[in-house]
Symmetry: C2
Subunit: 462 residues, 2 copies
Amino acid sequence: MTTTAPKPTLLEALAEVLPAGQLITGEKTGTYLRDQSDSTAAGVPIAVALPVNTEQVAAVVAFAAAHRIPIVPQGARTGLAGGANAIEGSIVLSTTRLNKIVSVDAEDQTATVQAGVRTYALARAAAAVGLFYPPDPGSWKGSTVGGNVATNAGGMLCVKYGVTGNFVRQLTVVLADGSIVRTGQRTIKGVTGYDLTSLLVGSEGTLGIITEITVGLLPAPAPASGVSATFAGTEAALAAAALIVASNRRPSILEYLDGPSITAINAFDPESKLPAGAAALLLVQSDQAGQAHDDVEEYAAILRGEGATEVLVAHDPAHLDQLMTARRLLQPALQAARGSSLNEDITVPRSQLQALLTGLTEISRDLSIPIGTGGHLGDGNLHPMIGFDAGNPAEVEAAHEAFARVIRLAISLGGSASGEHGIGMLKQAHLDDELGPILRDLQRRVKKAFDPDSLLNPGKKL
Amino acid sequence: MTTTAPKPTLLEALAEVLPAGQLITGEKTGTYLRDQSDSTAAGVPIAVALPVNTEQVAAVVAFAAAHRIPIVPQGARTGLAGGANAIEGSIVLSTTRLNKIVSVDAEDQTATVQAGVRTYALARAAAAVGLFYPPDPGSWKGSTVGGNVATNAGGMLCVKYGVTGNFVRQLTVVLADGSIVRTGQRTIKGVTGYDLTSLLVGSEGTLGIITEITVGLLPAPAPASGVSATFAGTEAALAAAALIVASNRRPSILEYLDGPSITAINAFDPESKLPAGAAALLLVQSDQAGQAHDDVEEYAAILRGEGATEVLVAHDPAHLDQLMTARRLLQPALQAARGSSLNEDITVPRSQLQALLTGLTEISRDLSIPIGTGGHLGDGNLHPMIGFDAGNPAEVEAAHEAFARVIRLAISLGGSASGEHGIGMLKQAHLDDELGPILRDLQRRVKKAFDPDSLLNPGKKL
């Protein structure tokens, strides 16, 4: 790690903006350099700020604006696209201490949290009053609500309930000049002014620093039932999934794992005990009040009818939890299995899923590089993970070539480079393929309207 | 009507942009002056263009941009806030002939329509393949999908399914310079680039001209059951509604009518036969597969438990349809009852509904002006309608004073000036109360990023 040498006076001045103990400088900033993507670049920041409230965030941003220092907002660094990686000479604004649950309102079914509150803590706080915060990204026990909003994170339950952005009502945001605004409405509906809330959702810290979030909650769902089913081939699995999607028994989870994913998860955590040896595994859950049991029996019949080789129905919460917990290990398990990995997050229309899986097999074979795939089949959002040995330059090159080809494949099928992880630094090269020049220009003008000097997380997202 | 006198050469040049028969000039433009709000201003346009495809829209916009002529996009003119009213010297761009259903994809559960397709036509096209397009604004038999997107229209079913914007995946948009872009993704999820689709939803034609829309569809719901219940006072009605919202039996409709609304609807259409003589009426529906019957019996028990005086359960589609159809007459019935009216569209957190209703009674009494209120109780989005005699200047003044006080009341309760009708021209004076100056400035910069010369529907929304 090369250390930059900022003028001592600048750091001294910055230290005065915050109470003592809330600024990290020097070697200790090393902890805050990068997220969980292992192939993205990171620079050395001049400092890491640890504000505890919106006003402190505003003070740091105003300081940075006055001195033209880039700001990198950072949550729990569970991201997978480098969006929160430090930039050389920047101030990293960590939301670690913005960790207060401000309020949970049972009557209005809303909660307000500071940006650094863990997703799982929000979900538990909602559950404590009989309510439900559905978005459940794989990282939800560690990730922050602010990070989820900044990437518009998804999760397993999104097939029924929608992604993070569908639950965001109001955002407290520090703008590039340090001013504080609150966008959106606490109410369920509201069309006063442009929908800047939705624009900020998924903007990866490039339009403003989100410090506080009000989300809508739902009544707690009924106890869920679930079923897993293995298949000897992907065609039959996809046919069964299509029948389940077309039924009016809406699943709350509809997930897919391929053979390598199952093997990797069982190896990563032997407690997982996923049914092994199959080409494909589907996990389907219903949490419909008064219907979950029947729904899952119906799903099981569909799965058997399409040739599933092993169908396990779980009406028992412990068994169901075991199946779903294992699925959550997909990302770390495949990463561990391969040493290093490039993590895709592509989406396609559901009708193109077979073409996608066939194309993935071809890319893997052509480049002799392993690709394990799992994810949110019901949403058409899969996570092919490309494994490689970082010490082998030929493999590194092949992995990056595979990464690009997978994205081009998804786009050619009417899909997108990213469903829920964000663009960060990892997928920037592929933006033009998807957006085209006119839309890129328009996006840049929107960025400029928010951040004319390009100080907010520069080099990310766009 | 005063007629402007554009240079003949300008109109001749404009006429050459479109095929013959697609440009209206002179007196005949009178049909296209205004929407259904009867207190908003309208100017005389130089012409009304009737394009049939995106390319023709682009040609008209490019022409307008070259000659600095304002463009007013206009759907079926069913709006209630003056958003589509013609501006003096503008070109009105009517979407009337952009009326093609481009595709309905049963497997991917999407539909693509031109902006001028009627909402009801889209719903029927979806139903024809066993799918469901939920947004159902009161005007849905006449309104266009493009207009619904431009205002982010709601409706009765939105309490369960969400508003128009929740279903929009992709928009084809003509920008202010006449260039054509497609925003968003056909897929369910997608975070590539900023979410310009959500920004355009509800932007009332001020950021771009929406010409084509791809929406997501759901599997058709189960046959619905419903219940109506009358109450002698609003407190009991609100208490019952709160219990229904808190249950995990999610209603697909939860509507409210006050006494004057019931009387006006029954007078407007004697077929309506709503239970008369009560202070409040609730309409509750469930369309949950396998549960609708039980849900509604449970709702009925809750309603009786809270003191409902007359509870009518409808498991029979014809009876249910009669109840819900009558509710759809709220707006025209109150407008007819009063000669003229100012239509509110306020939202409040549900916990503030009683305070809102109490405040409405006070405003009505203070100003001696009748206010009838109904709407989407489950969303906290109500439509107080202020009746007045347009020939009586004192009443006109009192009505406008009441209009302003109702909005300030909603905002003071944590609510918003508009839930689903839009700002248009009607509510512009109240934007600063709700947004504040910093957010207003930011919104203006966003507008400028899209429309630097302010040619797209100037004087609306912002």
